[in-house]
Each structure stands twice: as structure tokens, then as C-alpha cells.
Symmetry: C2
Subunit: 197 residues, 2 copies
DNA sequence: GTTACTTCCTAATGTCTCTAGGAAAGAGGC
DNA sequence: GCCTCTTTCCTAGAGACATTAGGAAGTAAC
């Protein structure tokens, strides 16, 4: 009998495809094995268990997403870069809903595996360096990064969960939110604690 | 043999407690039945299936969260109300992580059940009426509501997922984000499309 | 106390995760 | 080619869970 030629990466990729098609929580060992034409038990050579597989999918997604963002923002600065960043982020989530979901689960990933994946670390660097154009110093920089991430992440999440039921097109709100975010970053230092009401 | 006195609400509440203790995706029919001292099959009289149970937990959480927010914002206005709203929101998520998680799943809830639950609708009304103090007209109002929800939801989510690894205390960033949000809402009309860089 | 409804149980099926142990494919040395 | 070592994949099987069908025993109305 010919070998199926499995590797951890191939198992992960198959899981990721499945996640995009049927949702992350329908990604089972059985389903992945079925799709690969292999018995369930065979997967355990390459992947520790279901949780490990999910972690690997999350890492794959983080890497892919980071690459998209890096490409989109390359050579851009200021609001241009912000919009490119945000759109690349959102586009990835739309194109790969299952993978994107995987990035959100409370990370209980094998630390060794995590250390080898460039995605998460690079994503942070990318974000900080992009926001550096707004001339913020610590701790403002970190606060701004957190705010920006919260907004993007939250928007995409709510959108995916069907949380925007109003008639107003989501696309229009998105553009408006990015405008607002840009304005906010530019005037970050102006609205500290006790600014006039 | 005495009856256990089950009702849909009691099953839901037990599921919610379990969710807060061990995480939403460890809420199983078996586990809920065990805690209630009842066999798995007995639950199916009160709850259609696992998905239905999860939906009910989500609705319960939405109701509870809305009540907390309503209490917190009662009699307040402007930034005071905004901060009270946001803190009540976040406090609820901290106090009931499992229930809060339930509110985030793409809602595939029994429409009839949804119609009877006051939470979701009331939450929207509450938000709109709070933001009305910032004197925004449609479609700005809806955009602002969406931005605010995105930010709060995203921040709490990232926080829960351990996404804020930096040394800067999360609490401080939170306060700063609320300041920024308030400033943003006050000057919402000022930063439209082509504002000066 | 009879009737009817509801609640809860037993029993059973199918799916899924994960482990143990075996067979066979492929690589390298001779 | 043949032997050996490693890795890959399989068979078998235990244990958890979701879900359905059908039966027995409480409870309420009359």
C-alpha cells in the first residue's frame, strides 16, 4: 500500500481548509483523516491531538495574515498604511473565516512551536512600526496599538457573528471607522484624562 | 423516585454556571446532567439539543449583561455614562467568562426564543440612547455605535485571549481607550473623509 | 381513583478522541 | 540484492458524548 505522504504541515493545511469550509469547531480528527484518505489514528503521528491541530491552524493563519498585511502596507505610510493594514486584515478574515476564528482562541499553543512561528511576533512589529508614523511615545504607543487592534478585531468579529443588523451598509461604517481611527491616532496626545467636555 | 424538578431555565442556568467554571466548549449535555443529578437523556425534554442549550445560555447572558449596563448607566450622561457602560460591560465579561463567550457565537438561535428575550433588543436601545447625548444624526449614529461596540468587544476579547502581552497594565490602556473613545464621539463630525493630514 | 400529561429512566446507536501494538514502506550500509 | 533501522500507516479497542425510542412512575384534573 502506497503511503499517503503525510506531514504535520499537510495535516494542518487540510484542517485549515476544512475550517474555512465548515467552521473551526467542525474540524475533527475524523474529518481531516477522511479528507486525506487516511484513518484517524494515523494523524496522531504528526499532530499531538485535536487541540494541537487547532493551535497549528492558528499559527498558520497568523503567518498568512501577517504576510498579507506586510505586502499590503509595504511602501505606504500614514493613513494610507493604516487603511491598507486594516483592509488586508479584514479581507483575510473574510477569505478565511475558519482560519481567522482559530487565531482568536485563547492561545494554549506548544511554546516550542510558537517560538518557531514568525507570524505573531512579526505582526506585532509590523503594527508598532506602522503606528510609529504617528509619533507616539510609550506608553501612548502601546495604548494606541491596543486600541487599534481592539477596534479591528472587534469590528470583524461582530460582522462575522452577524452583529450588525442595521440597514446601514457595513462597508460604509468600516470606512468611517477607519477615518475616525486615523483622526484619533493623529490627535492621541490631545485627549488625555481631563480634557474639556 | 422523586423528580428533579427540571425546567428549561434550570438547565440553562446550570449550563451557564458550568460555562463560567470550565469554559463554554466544555459544557456538554453529560456534564450538565451530571451536575443536576440526572441522566443525559432527561435534558432533551427541556432543551432541543446542545446547540439550543448554548443559544439559551447566550440569551441568558445577553439579558444579564443588559441589566447590569442599564443599572450602571441609569441617571448618568455624557462621558460618565460612557465609562459606566463600558465598565459594566467589561466587568460582566470578567465575572462570567463562559456566559460572555456564549454571546459571541454566530447566533443561530431559535427565532421564537429570541423574540421573547428582551436582552438583545434592549441592549441596542440602551446603546443608541446613550450615544444620543453626543448629538449625532444618522448615519453617523449607527457608525458610532458600531465603532464603540467594536472597540469594547474587541478589547475584552483580546484581553480574555491573552492578546495583551506587553508590560503596560491592561487597566491603564483601558482607561486611555475610553478617554479616546469619548473624544472621538465628541468630534465625530469633524473627521470625515478628506480631513487634513 | 381513573385518566391524561409530564418527567425521568433504561437501552441502544453512531460519532468522535486517543492509545497500543503490528505490518510494511523507504533509507542507508554492505 | 539483502539486512537493519526508522517512520508511516493500519487494525483493534476503550471511553466520552449526542441523540432517539420507548417505558415507568410521578402529578394534576376530574
Amino acid at each position: 500500500m502506497a503511503r499517503a505522504g503525510l506531514t504535520a504541515d499537510r495535516v494542518t493545511l487540510t484542517g485549515a481548509e476544512l475550517a474555512d469550509e465548515v467552521g473551526l469547531d467542525h474540524v475533527t480528527m475524523s474529518a481531516v483523516a477522511r479528507r486525506l484518505g487516511v484513518k484517524d489514528a494515523s494523524l496522531y503521528v504528526h499532530v499531538r491531538n485535536l487541540e494541537d491541530l487547532r493551535g497549528r491552524i492558528a499559527l498558520l493563519a497568523a503567518d498568512e495574515k501577517t504576510i498579507r498585511i506586510a505586502e499590503a502596507t509595504a511602501g505606504r505610510a500614514g493613513k494610507d498604511a493604516l487603511v491598507a493594514y486594516a483592509n488586508a486584515y479584514r479581507d483575510y478574515a473574510h477569505a478565511h473565516p475558519g482560519r481567522y476564528t482559530a487565531t482568536q482562541i485563547p492561545m494554549q499553543i506548544d511554546p516550542e512551536l510558537l517560538a518557531r512561528a514568525p507570524g505573531p511576533r512579526r505582526a506585532i512589529e509590523l503594527t508598532y512600526s506602522m503606528l510609529r508614523a504617528y509619533h507616539l511615545d510609550e506608553p501612548d504607543l502601546t495604548d494606541a496599538v491596543r486600541m487599534m487592534r481592539s477596534m479591528l478585531h472587534g469590528f470583524i468579529n461582530l460582522e462575522a457573528a452577524g452583529g450588525f443588523a442595521h440597514a446601514r451598509p457595513v462597508e460604509d461604517s468600516w470606512v468611517r471607522c477607519l477615518d475616525a481611527l486615523h483622526a484619533l491616532l493623529e490627535n492621541w496626545h490631545a485627549h488625555r484624562e481631563g480634557d474639556p467636555a
